[in-house]
C-alpha cells in the first residue's frame, strides 16, 4: 500500500526519473543497474540533488511533487556538470 504522497513507482515513472537524472543531473548510464532498486544510495543521492536544486523537499523518493516537477516543460541545458 503506497505511503502517503508516494507515487506508485510504475516503470514509466522510474524511466522518466532515470532519463531526467541522466539528462540534467549527470546520472551516468553505467549506474543503470542501480535504478532497478530505487532505494540504492546513488539513486537516492541523485534524487535528493535534483530536489534540492529545484527547491523541492529532499525526500530522496519519487514523491508526487517530484514526479510532477519532472513532467514540467523546461530548458534542455543540464542543471549540473559540464
Amino acid at each position: 500500500y503506497p505511503l502517503h504522497g508516494a507515487v506508485r513507482q510504475d516503470h514509466s515513472t522510474m524511466d522518466l526519473a532515470q532519463q531526467y537524472l541522466e539528462k540534467y543531473y549527470n546520472f551516468r548510464k553505467n549506474e543503470k543497474q542501480f535504478f532497478k532498486r530505487k532505494d540504492s544510495s546513488p539513486v537516492v543521492k541523485k534524487i535528493e540533488e535534483m530536489q534540492k536544486f529545484l527547491g523541492l523537499e529532499m525526500t530522496g523518493k519519487l514523491d508526487s511533487n517530484t514526479v510532477e516537477m519532472m513532467h514540467k516543460p523546461r530548458c534542455g541545458v543540464p542543471d549540473v556538470g559540464g
Binding site: 536544486f53 529545484l54 530548458c75 534542455g76 542543471d79
Partner: protein, 169 residues
C-alpha cells in the same frame, strides 16, 4: 546563479546574432521582435550590445528545429525540453536552438518565445542554471501574465555582471 564550468564569456562587448530560420507558429516580425527584446533584457544590465546579421556566421546563431538536429542533444517532441543553448565560444558555441514541436506564442497560451529566448540567451552569454525560483535562469518553465515584460531577478543581474560587469553608462 551559476556560470558554466570555467566561466566562458565573450571577450568583446559587441556581439552579433543571426536568426537562421523561423517557426511557422508566429509571424517572422514577431520572432524578430521577441529575440530583440530578449537580448535587450541582458543589454540593459551589462556593457554588451547586440547587432543582427542576416547571413554568414554570427556569434549567436538562433534556429528552430525538431528531433535530431545536428548536435548531440535531439529534441523530444512536445513538452519537457523546450530549447537549449551553448555557452560563449567559437562555432556552435553561443548558439540557441528552439524545439519547433512546441507551440510558440507571445501570450500566456502555448510556450512564450520571449521568455524562453531571454533564458536561452542567458546561456549564450555564459550563465548556467540557477536554483533560485525567482530567477529567469531557473530551469523549469513558468509563465505568468506578469512576465509579459520580464524583470531580471537580483540573482540574474549578479550572475551576468559577474561575467561582464555593469553597464558602462
Amino acid at each position: 546563479f551559476s556560470t558554466f564550468p570555467g566561466s566562458p564569456k565573450w571577450r568583446k562587448n559587441h556581439i552579433s546574432y543571426r536568426i537562421v530560420n523561423y517557426t511557422l507558429d508566429l509571424p517572422r516580425e514577431s520572432v524578430d521582435s521577441a529575440i530583440e527584446r530578449a537580448l535587450k533584457v541582458w543589454e540593459e544590465v551589462t556593457p554588451l550590445t547586440f547587432s543582427r546579421i542576416s547571413e554568414g556566421e554570427a556569434d549567436i546563431m538562433i534556429s528552430f528545429a525538431v528531433g535530431e538536429h545536428g548536435d548531440f542533444y535531439p529534441f523530444d517532441g512536445v513538452g519537457q525540453s523546450l530549447a537549449h543553448a551553448y555557452p560563449p565560444g567559437p562555432g556552435f558555441y553561443g548558439d540557441a536552438h528552439f524545439d519547433d514541436d512546441e507551440k510558440w506564442s507571445l501570450g500566456p497560451s502555448g510556450t512564450n518565445l520571449f521568455l524562453v529566448a531571454a533564458h536561452e540567451l542567458g546561456h549564450s552569454l555564459g550563465l548556467f542554471h540557477s536554483n533560485n525560483k525567482e530567477s529567469l535562469m531557473y530551469p523549469v518553465y513558468r509563465f505568468s501574465t506578469s512576465q509579459a515584460n520580464i524583470r531580471l531577478s537580483q540573482d540574474d543581474i549578479e550572475g551576468i555582471q559577474s561575467l561582464y560587469a555593469r553597464p558602462s553608462s
